[in-house]
Structures are given as structure tokens and as C-alpha cells.
Symmetry: C2
Subunit: 323 residues, 2 copies
């Protein structure tokens, strides 16, 4: 049995290339508009829409899709064409900060793709939105061309209403691509960022102050682990408190490193861990990294996972991405 | 971000159902026959052929494919039609023990499928092979109806040549389905078994006797871990020896339990682990179980893995299995 599998492994040269794209649009109320945007993404053959979340209070929708690098750019563009024609920012009201109809479009490497490639995808989409839709586009996060634009809130400062004036007057608010004026579709932030993992570690104690103290120790902003946000929280069980984390870049701080830091800080105070939980999805790579660490399986790759290999086979036999 | 992913998780009710099937055919030399058998499997829409291994000395081929439960039965049947008409056991010579053209067909649960369901698939295929191809079929492993047939070598005893006579005379060699006589295609063993994981743990010592001693302690046959085969081996590095294992059922002994047993026995002798390796493929479930154990992530499921979810989406949008 082992020998056949060994053949199998050596056969795959490259593996499936997967990019996730999570565009946010300023529409969370009109079903016809939401459907049109979603349908535009689904119309690209090599793209799978994994999720749609629309929120009426925020008046905003978040679409999650994955696909090959080229296909995700095409899908993001097709959604943008719909959103730009169907959403009028002059009439938009909602609780969430926003600068445009296609408010923000991040590209996220999932597998077989580097961050640099996702930055290139962001540049490609940004240029196309500017050229074909006449939209001002700001590059943000890993794709940013100016240091202050790495942080999205800086790009969205003063929102659509304030940016309408600032874009024409303030040289620091000039877009990376497109005109220095806002039309009815507003502006867009396009960027690249790592996959965010929401991860909680539960502590077997009622001491909320301890959870907050440990959260402060592990969070990056107070000198803790790189790319980790953390806060201490109560849970529904009065005997359990939680260190709730966002792992912004699991290559900098792997999930198991975050777990072990909390475990060790709690143990130092005589408190045990009552389990941990991943909220939502996890890329195969993160799982494989924890596996490799847990059993010292140096050189183990996500490609050795049967389901991943199957995905690879399906991708290879699928239709080519649109040009 | 977390909230959207939470929605996503709750959406999936059932997840993708995947069965692996690894039929062995008594042909490892004639390319046209090998191709015809492979093509028969590929002709089923909902099946992906992951590997083909043909060996001229054994004069045998091993096909590995995965798919939905119904599709794998259909693919196994279509391969069998080809093999039964193209292979004549009266002329077959090869080093590997065999009783027929379609020598052995195991069904292996990969995800979303129980062993009992795979046993039912084995029964379904066995009946169809008997009814439509007039082949004698023995149920083996988890699908066995007689205790001694749980062990495949008992079914293959005396091989094609010996079974030709024994099947007509010995009531204990009567097949579960089909006639009590062997034709040119011989007989077939059809069964269900867990996924086999080939897993090695390396020890930082030149002491081969220690590796053999630890192998003896962990292997099931000498009172060790359930469903574990193990032996001590040298490696290409004279300072490293290896405990080489087959994990026959990772639900009985998870991969991390095998690792930890070897780690602990070696540590008791003052020897450290120099890494471990998975040879070939690993089902997502095994990876998820190790992850759950390593970070106490109670309730984590393979379905939370992004690539797995994608597979689910692709499966849902794919063509239905043939009837």
C-alpha cells in the first residue's frame, strides 16, 4: 500500500492554486441587488461562492469566494460592475464605515499562492476598476504603496461623504489608480492580506481578570505574539473564561504557538485549559502546520491530505479560468 | 469576519460523502488491458482516479479511486466487466498471490460514510458481480460473513490453481455469492476496511535493537496498540533508526497516540525522537483528530477546513452519480 501512495505524491508538481476573495459591498437591504452581485461572482466557471452575509443595519454585504488566481480577479471585477451600476452612495446609509459601493476587496492566499502573487492580483483588479469603471482605487494592507494605507481605517477616514471633498484637495488622499473625484459608486480599497483565523482558548476559572491579563500578554499591540489580537471574555459557563484571539497571520504566529502561550501563562497561575475552539474556517495549511508540530512530522504538506489531492484532481479536470 | 464564517459552518448539514476503492487486478504487463480497466473507472462521472500502480513482476495492477458511495460501486463494477473479459487466469503468472482477474476489491470510508455503509457497498458489488458476471465472490475483512474470512490470506489460500478444485469440494471454500466453480476470470474477494496509514517515527540513536524492541512493544500482535503493525528498521542515516508502522484503523489508535507511545518508550531509554513521517496520503479526519488532540480543540471537525468545504461545494454542484 505505501508504495502506491508514494508514487501518487511524487506525481503532483504544483498542486491546486487557491485564492480567497472577500469583497464587501455597500448593500445589505435590497435582495435584487444582493442577488445580482452574488450571481456575477458565480458566473465565473472556476469560482466557488462559499458564503454570503448581508446585514440590514450595516446595509452591507460580504461575499466569500475561492478560485484560481485569475478567476478570483475576474469574479471580483464582475461583481464590481454590478455594484457600481446598482448602488448609489449618495443615498447610502448604514452603521458600518464605507467609502464606496465596492467598499473593500481583499485577496487572501489559501494554497499554492504567495502573498506577492495576491498583491499582484490586487494591482490588476485595481487598475481594471479604474480603467473600465472610472473608479478611484486605493491599495491597502499588503498591497499598499504608502505606509499609512496598510491600515484600512486610514483609507476609509471621513468615509464617503468626507472623502468626496478630501480626494480633490488633499494630495495624501489621492488614489493609486483612477480619477481624483468620487462619483455615485464612490471609491474602493483593494488589497491583499493573510487569512484571519478566529481562535479562542478557554480557561477553567471564573477569574475574568486573569483572562484579560493573559490576553494583554499575548496580544501584539502590548508586546506579545506577532499578528495576534486578543481580549479576555466571560463565557456562558461562570466557571470558564476565555482568551478570544484573531490570528492575523498564522505564518508569523501559528495557531499552536498561540495555544501554547495561553496554556503556559495560565499554568503559571495554576489554571488549566478547558479546551479551545476555531470559529469558522481554517485553511488546510494551518491544520498541517499544527500536525507537523504536534508529531514532529517534518516535511509534511497539506498535499498529502487525501481530500486536498482530490480537489487537485478535480481542479485539473475542470474548465480553464476565463481570460 | 468570525460571524460570517459561523454562518457558513451552520449551513452545511451533511458534508461530502467520500469512499475510496482500491481494486487489485491480475494484469501488470499489457498496457491495453491496464488502460481499458482504468478507463472504465474514469467513465463514471462522480469518480476521480487518484492513482494507478502496475507491476510487471507481480503481473498485477492497483487502481485507487474515490467518489460518492454509489459511484464507487459503479466504477468498481465497470472495471470488473473489463477485467473479466480481458484477463484469463489460466494463463496468468506472477509473484503475488491471487485468486482471480479482479482479485480483491476493498471499500474504504474516507469521510461522511460509516464502515457499515462500506460493508453494504461491498455486499452490493459482490451480488452484482455474481449475478451479472457469473463470478464466485468471497466477502472479506469488515464485510466477512465468516470469521476466518476477515483475514484476506485465508480467502486466497492455495490461490487460483488450488481454489479451482477446493471450491467444488470443500464447503468451507463456498463463495458468499455466485457459482461454486472457477471460470477463466477466477474468483474475487470484496470487502470493506479502514484507511491504512503508513507512519514512521525516527529515533536519534544507532541502536537498531532499541527500534525493534519499541516496535515489539507498540505492535498489536505482541500486546501493544490496537490495529498497529510495527517493525524496527535502519535508515540511510547511521545515527537514526526507525519504528515503521502501519496504522490499520486510526479510530482505534489515532496517529498521535502511536507517536506518543514511541516517544515515551524512547524517552524511557534516554533516546529522543528525530521526527516522524507520513508515507503517502492521510485522510482529513486523521489530521483533524491530531489537531483536536494537540490544541484541545474539542468539537473541531474536518468540515471546518476551507479546502474541504470547497470540495463540498464542488460536489454539491457536480453531476449526480449514475444509477
Amino acid at each position: 500500500m505505501p508504495q502506491y501512495n508514494r508514487d501518487l505524491i511524487s506525481r503532483a508538481e504544483r498542486g491546486v492554486q487557491l485564492v480567497e476573495c472577500v469583497p464587501n459591498f455597500s448593500e445589505g437591504r435590497r435582495p435584487a441587488v444582493i442577488d445580482a452581485i452574488r450571481a456575477a461572482a458565480s458566473s465565473v466557471p472556476d469560482v466557488s461562492v462559499l458564503d454570503l452575509h448581508a446585514d440590514a443595519a450595516h446595509n452591507r454585504m460580504v461575499l466569500t469566494f475561492v478560485g484560481s488566481p485569475r478567476a478570483t480577479v475576474e469574479a471580483a471585477f464582475r461583481c464590481s460592475v454590478q455594484a457600481a451600476s446598482l448602488i448609489d452612495m449618495r443615498e447610502h446609509r448604514g452603521e458600518h464605515p464605507r467609502i464606496g459601493a465596492i467598499d473593500v476587496v481583499p485577496f487572501i492566499p489559501v494554497s499554492g499562492v504567495t502573498m506577492a502573487e495576491c498583491v499582484a492580483l490586487a494591482h490588476e483588479l485595481a487598475r481594471r476598476m479604474a480603467d473600465e469603471l472610472d473608479l478611484p482605487v486605493y491599495l491597502y494592507a499588503e498591497a499598499a504603496t504608502r505606509a499609512e494605507r496598510r491600515w484600512l481605517p486610514n483609507v476609509r477616514k471621513s468615509e464617503y461623504e468626507g472623502l468626496r471633498i478630501a480626494i480633490t484637495r488633499d494630495p495624501n488622499r489621492a488614489p493609486d489608480f483612477g480619477p481624483r473625484r468620487l462619483g455615485s459608486a464612490g471609491a474602493t480599497a483593494v488589497g491583499a492580506r493573510p487569512f484571519l483565523v478566529a481562535y479562542n482558548v478557554n480557561l477553567r476559572t471564573s477569574d475574568l481578570a486573569l483572562a484579560r491579563e493573559i490576553a494583554a500578554s499575548v496580544r501584539h499591540s502590548s508586546g506579545g505574539l506577532p499578528a495576534v489580537q486578543a481580549r479576555g471574555m466571560a463565557t456562558s459557563d461562570p466557571e470558564v473564561v476565555q482568551v478570544s484571539m484573531n490570528l492575523l497571520d498564522t505564518r508569523q504566529t501559528p495557531l499552536h504557538a498561540a495555544y501554547e502561550a495561553v496554556l503556559s501563562l495560565a499554568a503559571g497561575r495554576g489554571v488549566g485549559v478547558a479546551g479551545s475552539e476555531v470559529v469558522g474556517l481554517l485553511p488546510q495549511e494551518v491544520l498541517a502546520a499544527t500536525f507537523e508540530h504536534a508529531v514532529q512530522a517534518t516535511g509534511f504538506t497539506a498535499r498529502q491530505v487525501l481530500e486536498y489531492r482530490l480537489l487537485d484532481t478535480l481542479a485539473a479536470s475542470g474548465e480553464p479560468a476565463p481570460s
